[in-house]
Subunit: 109 residues, 2 copies
């Protein structure tokens, strides 16, 4: 991905907020940090359903993103679509992890 | 884990900061949020090497923690030790994920 984009804290903050909204999550706060010497950006959007995070390595054209949601009303794949559309990466690797005490959580739903 | 601990925002913030320090990470900021009606706490510590996060479900005695580090000078397992010592969970499940463009990153080290 273009190095400029991966160094642009305000763009990446807006992007992650749009991705959170697309997934159906409710944003409660965020924290973004730009490293010195244009070394990249790291940021987290805290949502009622957990969090989204991004860490960029402009020098490698690489970003690592987590989309962590909970409940049945959210769809993390919608967040991924927003990220794909706006970052237009050449290559994407996705790992889906199901976590939690699922037998108890399913009883509660 | 005890429900009181999983609802205690200031304790959990201090815990995650201690865990970050133990792992050798450099803290750059944090954001913690306590849900209404004692429904739990969610929080993130942003470190120069990525992030640590915690999301608690006191009603299930459950917490989901991510420890995301990068570089060779940090040890995420040290963070886990701090969390174990202070939370004393009956049961722990850990999944280790290696990520990034490893062939390029290893060239750079």
């Amino acid at each position: 991905m273009p190095q400029d984009v991966l160094r642009d804290k305000e763009f990446l903050r807006g992007l992650l907020l749009r991705a959170a909204e697309a997934s159906g999550s409710t944003v409660v706060g965020d924290y973004f940090y730009k490293f010195e010497n244009d070394m990249g950006v790291t940021g987290v959007v805290v949502v009622a359903e957990s969090h989204l995070s991004i860490h960029t390595w402009p020098e490698y054209g690489y970003a690592a993103v987590d989309v962590f949601t909970c409940g049945t009303h959210t769809d993390p794949w919608r967040a991924l679509e927003v990220l794909r559309e706006e970052l237009r990466p050449e290559r994407v690797e996705v790992t889906e992890m199901t976590r939690g005490i699922l037998e108890q959580l399913s009883l509660a739903e």
